[in-house]
């Protein structure tokens, strides 16, 4: 027997395969790559690029990085949850399950691909921001921004896997990711600049979920008036905790077979034999 393919070969092949699927799916590519950029440009047209006292920077200097976080979360959380659930609906996960590919490599392939897509989407957002909206990038805080980005993508990729395992269909995955991400984005300072007048409970709720802990350290890294350390370990540790728990539960609840064929069919099988047994 010839040699087994190396883990690296398999990872590369899986990541390339997931990337291909992503870029050939117009809806996924649009919502992850174009939509955040589009919102950024439209908001900038509507609200201009005024200096905002509460932020200590121009609007774009905050809003660009905030939308970059939204793009990174779409590429990891939404993308992984929705594509994985649809792949299960179509029986693709069942096929993979029957091949020698180790399950871990399959899942890592998804995470690497999500990271790759997030890098493209965040880079596109920041490039447009720097070129047309005067966004400044600071060398001193850039490493912390990149690290925050990596922790955030890992956390939200794990959450995407968890959602994929908990829902029963691709449509449900789309609904769940939108119903969680959009409200959280509003209260976590992605679309709206946080105001001091907002009720305190909104802030309390936002602090429970991981999105705000991604937005705050990432946007601070682009804020010259922020004086604390760019390595905001409290936020990073909180995201890592969410991600770690999501990964453990995501692996625990991961389903390889669609409900329709695995569950319903076996119930049908057993019902028929029951009919026979009692006949």
């Amino acid at each position: 027997m010839a040699d087994r393919p190396s883990t690296l070969t398999l990872l590369a092949s899986q990541a390339r395969y997931q990337n291909r699927i992503f870029f050939r799916s117009p809806a996924a590519a649009f919502f992850t790559l174009i939509f955040p950029l589009f919102i950024f440009i439209v908001f900038s047209l509507i609200f201009g690029n005024e200096y905002i006292d509460e932020l200590g920077v121009n609007l774009s200097q905050y809003f660009g990085p905030a939308m970059a976080v939204f793009a990174a979360v779409s590429a990891s959380y939404t993308n992984i949850a929705v594509t994985t659930a649809y792949q299960r609906d179509e029986g693709i996960l069942k096929r993979v399950r029957g091949t020698p590919l180790p399950a871990g490599i399959y899942l890592w392939g998804k995470i690497i691909s999500a990271l790759f897509i997030a890098v493209i989407s965040v880079s596109a957002m920041m490039a447009v921001g720097v070129a047309f909206y005067g966004i400044q990038i600071y060398a001193a805080t850039l490493p912390a921004a990149i690290f925050t980005f990596l922790v955030g993508v890992a956390c939200f990729a794990s959450l995407g896997l968890l959602v994929a395992g908990l829902v029963n269909s691709g449509e449900a995955a789309t609904a769940v990711t939108n119903a969680t991400l959009l409200p959280l984005a509003f209260i976590s300072g992605v679309f709206l600049v946080p105001s001091d007048d907002a009720p305190e409970w909104i802030d309390t709720v936002a602090n429970v979920f991981p999105l705000k802990h991604f937005v705050v350290p990432f946007t601070d890294a682009f804020n010259p008036t922020y004086t604390g350390s760019p390595w905001q370990w409290n936020h990073l540790a909180y995201m890592a905790l969410w991600g770690g728990v999501a990964l453990v539960l995501g692996i625990r609840f991961f389903k390889w077979e669609p409900k329709a064929s695995g569950g319903r069919k076996s119930r049908k099988d057993s019902k028929e034999s029951k009919d026979r047994a009692t006949a």
Partner: protein
């Protein structure tokens, strides 16, 4: 040597037994068909062998492995043709074969495989543009991309039109000529008859008959049916005692020594200058045996 060996396999879904003590074996190079209606337990049995399901009790050994352990080496040596073609629509034929081929140590060459299943003209076409029959051929290619010793095929031609089925059959025949052992499930009699060396008929979670398509269910020794029409002629002096006369005048009799019986009947007819219209001599078809075994005659 047995490639597949199953002893007293039981699968219980929450107190209901889908498979109720099944035993069979498949030898190297053999094509073995599990035949049965929906809900007979055949897919459950095969999915246990493929490693998708656990068993409740019994002994299962495939290529010397316990498939429920799902070891990587085991999965490197089997190929699975799924009931529905489940593959990313946006990939091309050759991309799909490459994506799955790379997972196996003994992958078959992509071009060679595309030629085997006759998809040369479609190699760079997106899978979503393929017809049902072409998708099925791709599914067969994906089932053997790792050059497996044993190929599982779950209802490989369900939902096919007759010409697509013929094409699929000839591809499966090619595989057997490559020395592969094949275990397939089907609910088509003619498919089992055409492809299989041996057939097991499942019904209600049990194997109710097993044998070659020729001998299944005592078909080999079953009485031959002789029938003819006798237009307004009398049966006077007819050499056989036990005959059925239908309302339309058709006369049917059964014989376990058809040569002798036919000789006697035709001798009688020639002697009286009678023409036996629509004379037919037939053995029960595999379909008759199957319907009898699975009890679908009464039910349907």
């Amino acid at each position: 040597m047995s490639v597949v060996s199953v002893e007293n396999l039981v699968k219980d879904y929450g107190g209901v037994e889908a498979v109720r003590g099944v035993s069979f074996h498949v030898d190297a190079g053999e094509v073995f068909a599990v035949l049965g209606p929906n809900g007979a337990g055949k897919s459950t049995t095969v999915e246990i062998l493929e490693g998708y399901r656990t068993k409740t009790s019994g002994e299962v050994s495939v290529l010397g492995y316990d498939p429920t352990e799902r070891s990587r080496t085991y999965r490197e040596r089997i190929g699975i043709v799924l009931q529905e073609t489940a593959v990313e629509d946006s990939l091309t034929v050759s991309e799909a074969i490459d994506t799955y081929g790379v997972m196996f140590p003994n992958r078959r060459d992509t071009s060679e495989l595309i030629a085997i299943v006759g998809l040369d003209e479609k190699r760079n076409a997106r899978i979503k543009s393929l017809s049902g029959g072409q998708r099925r051929r791709l599914e067969l290619a994906l089932g053997i991309v790792g050059d497996p010793d044993l190929v599982f095929m779950d209802e490989p031609t369900t939902g096919f039109d007759p010409s697509a089925r013929r094409q699929a059959w000839s591809i499966i025949e090619n595989l057997t000529s490559l020395g592969k052992t094949i275990l397939l499930t089907t609910h088509y009699m003619d498919e089992a008859q055409f492809l299989a060396d041996r057939v097991a008929v499942m019904s209600g979670g049990l194997i109710v008959a097993e044998g070659t398509p020729e001998s299944l269910g005592g078909r080999e020794s079953a009485a031959t049916v002789i029938a003819f029409n006798l237009d307004d002629q009398s049966l006077e002096g007819f050499p056989m005692a036990d005959v059925d006369v239908a309302e339309n005048g058709r006369i049917t009799l059964r014989s376990s020594t058809p040569t002798r019986t036919v000789h006697d009947i035709t001798g009688w007819a020639v002697g009286r200058n009678i023409e036996l219209a629509d004379l037919s001599i037939s053995r029960p078809s595999l379909e008759d045996i199957y319907l009898e075994l699975t009890g679908e005659v009464e039910n349907g």
